[in-house]
């Protein structure tokens, strides 16, 4: 296991990231943060259903996506439900998904973003297959699969990781280790010292990075992408953070979590850390911050308006798309 050096707390600069790129990453983080915070409000207002909160996961998502090209494929878990926004997906589409409306369906090829995977880790083999399939076709694209710490206990994680390694598929396994799988702590999930250690067993490099340091995440992912493109196969990134919010809107973590630790983590949450860095570098000003946040808030305002303007789905849609060529009788009930 290799610990990736920190960036933002050390005021280090990252090769190839100028002011424009730093602000693009910031915009992405703010868009995700705004999506998440507004979603919690919408849930409380009854405007979306159960919602999996990703507050304080924005650095992991934005940092890694910015290290990809648009032709690289993203395989999100439900914790990355809004990651498509970073590929131009309208907020309304993701809101539809959480509103249980079929307008939340999308074609993965439109954004190179696979459907949100609800069961744990079963999308890891999909990402391995996509990456392997692209390699077989001589295309340059790679894939990234996002999953949590609990997912590393699943058989699908193992089979996907091993397949990718054997096929030397251009895949990045991105573990957002927030140290909790609902109420189960990491210590009940594994006996390894770090999840990145698991990479050794697959014959791929494993690195550990501060998941709250967006630029360290960017650097770690960029290195994994370079390896993948060079034909050197998959990599495992363990991004370490702490879940500072409930698992989902249906969860009350007070029953199990260390509330003092949560308060500490909230004070050191990833967006604020990056803002302080950008300010020290004089890249971010009050005006710019306000403008970027206003832009994100407006995008969400328009998104929820569009989602709520969508007519209720026609009940006939129950029978749409179950098959390309449906068998006779599939409507019988």
């Amino acid at each position: 296991m290799v610990q990736v050096a920190g960036v933002i707390d050390e005021d280090r600069e990252v090769d190839g990231l100028g002011e424009e790129e730093l602000l693009a990453i910031y915009r992405s983080m703010i868009l995700l943060r705004t999506y998440d915070e507004r979603s919690l409000v919408y849930h409380r207002q009854g405007r979306i259903g159960t919602y999996a909160i990703f507050w304080n996961h924005e650095a992991m998502q934005a940092g890694s996506v910015h290290a990809l090209s648009d032709d690289d494929w993203i395989f999100p878990s439900y914790r990355e439900s809004a990651i498509g926004l970073l590929r131009g997906m309208p907020p309304a589409t993701v809101l539809h998904w959480w509103r249980g409306h079929p307008a939340g369906w999308w074609n993965p090829a439109d954004y190179n973003v696979a459907s949100i995977c609800v069961p744990i880790a079963t999308h890891v083999p999909h990402a391995a297959g996509l990456a392997w399939g692209k390699k077989l076709k001589g295309e340059r694209a790679c894939a990234i699969a996002y999953f949590g710490d609990g997912a590393t206990s699943e058989g699908s994680f193992h089979e996907g990781a091993n397949f990718a390694a054997v096929m030397q598929a251009p895949l990045i396994l991105f573990c957002n280790n927030n140290q909790w799988a609902i109420s189960t702590p990491l210590s009940a999930q594994t006996r390894t010292e770090s999840l990145a250690d698991k990479a050794v067993g697959y014959g791929m490099p494993g690195v550990r990075v501060d998941g709250g340091d967006v630029l360290a995440v960017y650097e770690a992912t960029r290195e994994a992408v370079e390896r993948a493109r060079a034909g050197d196969g998959p990599s495992f990134i363990e991004a370490v953070t702490y879940r500072a919010a409930p698992h989902a809107t249906a969860d009350d973590p007070r029953a199990y979590i260390d509330l003092e630790r949560v308060e500490q983590e909230k004070k050191n949450e990833c967006v604020g850390r990056y803002e302080r860095y950008l300010r020290r570098l004089s890249v971010l000003t009050d005006e710019l911050e306000a403008a970027i946040k206003a832009e994100a808030t407006e995008a969400m305002r328009q998104g929820i308006a569009a989602a709520e303007a969508e007519p209720e789905p026609d009940p006939a849609l129950v029978f749409e798309n179950a098959y390309v060529n449906p068998p006779p009788g599939f409507r019988d009930g």
């Binding site: 079929p102 999308w106 090829a109 894939a143």
Partner: protein
């Protein structure tokens, strides 16, 4: 036309479809160097290369799971599960993703996966080499299921499955892999999904079966005094109700023969269709000759489990006396 064994017809279909479509690839355990433990994939590695006939790690969920991603990359994977009961780890992928992904994309992306495997008992094999898992597959929305009983159908149904835009499971009756020999058309040959076959015409009783139970029913029909019609279901989904109902209307008596355990087996589905749509044509109850609600036994006992000519005869006589 050439005479081929059923397993040779499977192999022929794979050769023809891989030659016809560059996006078709075969993947599974021991399918390459060994040509499959039953030799169903023999010669593919040599002819099409290691990229299109892939010896995978020993990981059934990984095989079907990566096939989902391969579809996204533009491939048309044909996955082999080495044996029926070895396919159970892949049911997770089948149920949670393969049957749903097209739907989940609003119909905008296809997942034309073929999942084929030898299935069924009677081959004197160790535990878990003998199962008839068709119900698990056919019960899953989004999945089609075909089961051939002749060499020509083994080729034609597999080719149709590979070309079908939906995921299709093809269960190949291993008991008759090397006992059924028949004429198989050369080159491209398709048998449409959703068309049953009258394997034998008769007037008194309809025997409904698929896979290795079809030749068993034909033997029973030879030996019984009654005139038996044998319907080979061929595809469980889409199900050809028309052929079933026409035969039920003709004979008025139906015995369904399945080697899978009885409870909620596919025979129950056929019986329900007949109850709903053929009640007035029937002169007696729909009877089932099936496996039992027990684990498939060790092979010294398997003859006591498998449907037999005797058990079919008993059911037919009971029905005729009704």
């Amino acid at each position: 036309m050439a005479e081929r064994l059923l397993v040779e017809a499977v192999n022929d279909a794979l050769h023809v479809e891989l030659a016809r479509d560059d996006s078709v690839m075969v993947m599974g355990e021991d399918v390459g160097r060994a040509g499959g433990v039953f030799r169903a994939t023999a010669g593919l590695l040599e002819r099409f290369g290691a990229d299109r006939c892939v010896d995978t790690p020993l990981a059934e969920a990984g095989i079907l799971g990566t096939a989902v991603g391969l579809c996204m990359a533009g491939w048309r994977p044909v996955c082999e599960m080495q044996y029926d009961a070895f396919s159970y780890p892949c049911l997770d992928q089948l149920i949670t993703h393969v049957g749903r992904y097209h739907w989940r994309t609003g119909g905008q992306m296809d997942f034309p996966i073929t999942l084929r495997m030898p299935y069924g008992g009677g081959v004197r094999a160790p535990e878990l080499h003998d199962d008839s898992p068709e119900t698990y597959y056919v019960h899953t929305p989004g999945i089609k299921v075909a089961i051939p009983s002749t060499p020509a159908d083994a080729k034609g149904l597999l080719a149709s499955a590979i070309r079908d835009p939906d995921p299709v499971v093809v269960l190949e009756p291993k008991l008759i892999y090397r006992t059924e020999r028949g004429e198989v058309p050369e080159g491209e040959h398709l048998v449409p999904l959703g068309k049953a076959r009258i394997a034998r015409e008769g007037d008194d009783v309809t025997l409904v079966a698929y896979g290795a139970m079809v030749p068993l029913c034909l033997r029973a029909a030879d030996e019984l005094d009654a005139s038996c019609e044998v319907v080979d279901v061929r595809t469980l989904k889409p199900l050809d109700e028309e052929t079933l109902l026409a035969s039920a209307a003709k004979t008025g008596r139906v015995v369904i023969v399945q080697e899978a355990p009885r409870v909620a087996g596919f025979g129950a589905e056929i019986a329900a269709v007949l109850a709903e749509k053929a009640m007035l044509d029937l002169r007696g109850p729909v009877l089932r000759v099936t496996g039992f609600d027990v684990p498939y036994p060790y092979w010294k006992l398997e003859d006591a489990y498998m449907p037999s000519v005797e058990r079919i005869g008993t059911a037919v006589r009971r029905l005729l006396e009704f």
